[in-house]
Amino acid sequence: MVNWLYSKKVKEHFFNPKNIQLKLPPDDSFEATATIGSVICGDMMQVWLNIDSKTETIKKMTWKTFGCASAIASTSILSQMVEGKTLQKAREIYAKDIVTALGGLPQNKIHCSVLGDKALRMAINNYYRRVDQVDKIQHESGRLLDSILMITDEEVKDLIRQGADSVDKLLKQLKVGVGDKKLKNELVKLLKDAGKSK
């Protein structure tokens, strides 16, 4: 048989995605929601959470995604990973955990298509905001550089450590619109700090 483009697990979740939110749900049918990404980036997802307020446990996560096979598969598998988890535990799921659960993804796909964990953390923050427990809100570690894709300086530093040594390479890996001057300047600064500027 011909090898498929991605792992078996990605294939399974892409063709038979789990926990899809087919129709937009009424406002009172979920406890929290969040959207991340944009059509311009090529990936955009929204998640909805049903939360047991007593135990702070996720009963169900549903979602909608516009994106490539790995974006759809990564949101789908995340929706299974978080079921029954406390909000604290769910917050600790990061892109690398999703990639592992999927049996791996091509390197260049990881930063662009695995956004579900960020959407989940945003939704959890939105939940705490809604129930007036603002002390439990946690911001992405590091300083926010881009508010649509929730890119932080820590994430960029990580990419630089992994070998990205130019703004172009960083933009490609982060898959951010090249037009964003502000972000570009931030990237130049971070490269300079890491001693990678030319």
């Binding site: 399974e12 059509v39 994106g67 490539c68 096979a69």
Partner: protein, 397 residues
Amino acid sequence: MRKIKESKKSIYLDNASTTPVDPLVLEEMNSFYSIHYANPSSIHRMGRNVKSQLKSARNSIAGILDCSPDEIIFTSGGTESNNIAIMGYAFSLLKNNRAGVFACSEIEHPAVIETIKATSSFGFAPRFIPVDKDGIIDLKELEKLLSLGNVEFVSVMYANNEIGTIQPIADISKLCHKHGAVFHTDACQASPYLDLNVMSLGVDMLSLNGSKAYGPKGIGALYIKKIVELRPITFGGGQEKGLRSGTENVSGIIGLSKALCIAQATRVVSSKRETILRDKLIKALLEIPSTFLNGDNNKRLPNNANISFLGVEGESLLLELDKAGVMVSTGSACSSKSLEPSRTIMAIHKHDDEPEAFAHSSIRFTIGKHTTESDIAYTVDTVKKGVDKLRSISSAW
């Protein structure tokens, strides 16, 4: 785990990527592996025999182009033809201590765009000519650029590989010559469908290859008008007038010649047949809400339909179609090596609010001579199902 059922069907609608080799072409080629394998540069009988076969292949192609056989060199494909045309001309200008602008349209194939960019390392100034919303080159912008007076070289593709738009090559030739610029066209996509007469096109150089015209891969040709001086960009034994050293790919050359002969002899009939199929496909697919045809309605290759399905990402739709046995390609960033959305689709939608949305959701269907009516019907059905499914889970719909 639910078993994912994959269709055994195989409907190939990716002919702009490459075509199958025509059995008649293959038949011509075979003996050049097993019997006529000698090196055409050898002066013994076997070598001389191959050399004369090479000569008649060159003559056949010269007949198609309406040029002299010594105005044709064989290369390893379209990419190399384009490289030799652009860099070879740049090097000949360098030799004469000339510099200036090297220009091409903003929707050229990477083999042209990247080479034009590379001329900057040798002191030339790359410029990119804009196209309109249908992908036709803006002749006013071209003339504006040419009237600056320092444009040495212009390259505009005969027909676009992604959206099939056909350029007014004869008009562009005239404009370039009026201002003293050399004009090259990449005719790789055009060769199975359009007239390749270099006299009526008026071009100075023209690139061809085998793999888009039912010929073999790894073979191409470049027409170079006698008055155009090129310098070699690779070096060796001096074959092909010193512009493409290396033992000739004889079987490939024989195959290319045969393929172009067949393609040009049948192009009117196949264009008519494929246009009917293409228009059926386009009409049926545009019935899906929020879909757009990329490229010109009429000035379009007979085999090309490029459509954006808003709210659906191209790679996802491509894989849904693939599962059902329909093979297409996409301009989405997710499927490109560079993770950049299609430059061509971005260029024609530059005046729309979100050009990326059109690029990310675009699918290219390219019909071939084996495509049937029922292939088209099945494809339409499959696309409708795929778009429905992906829109139902899309956050952008």
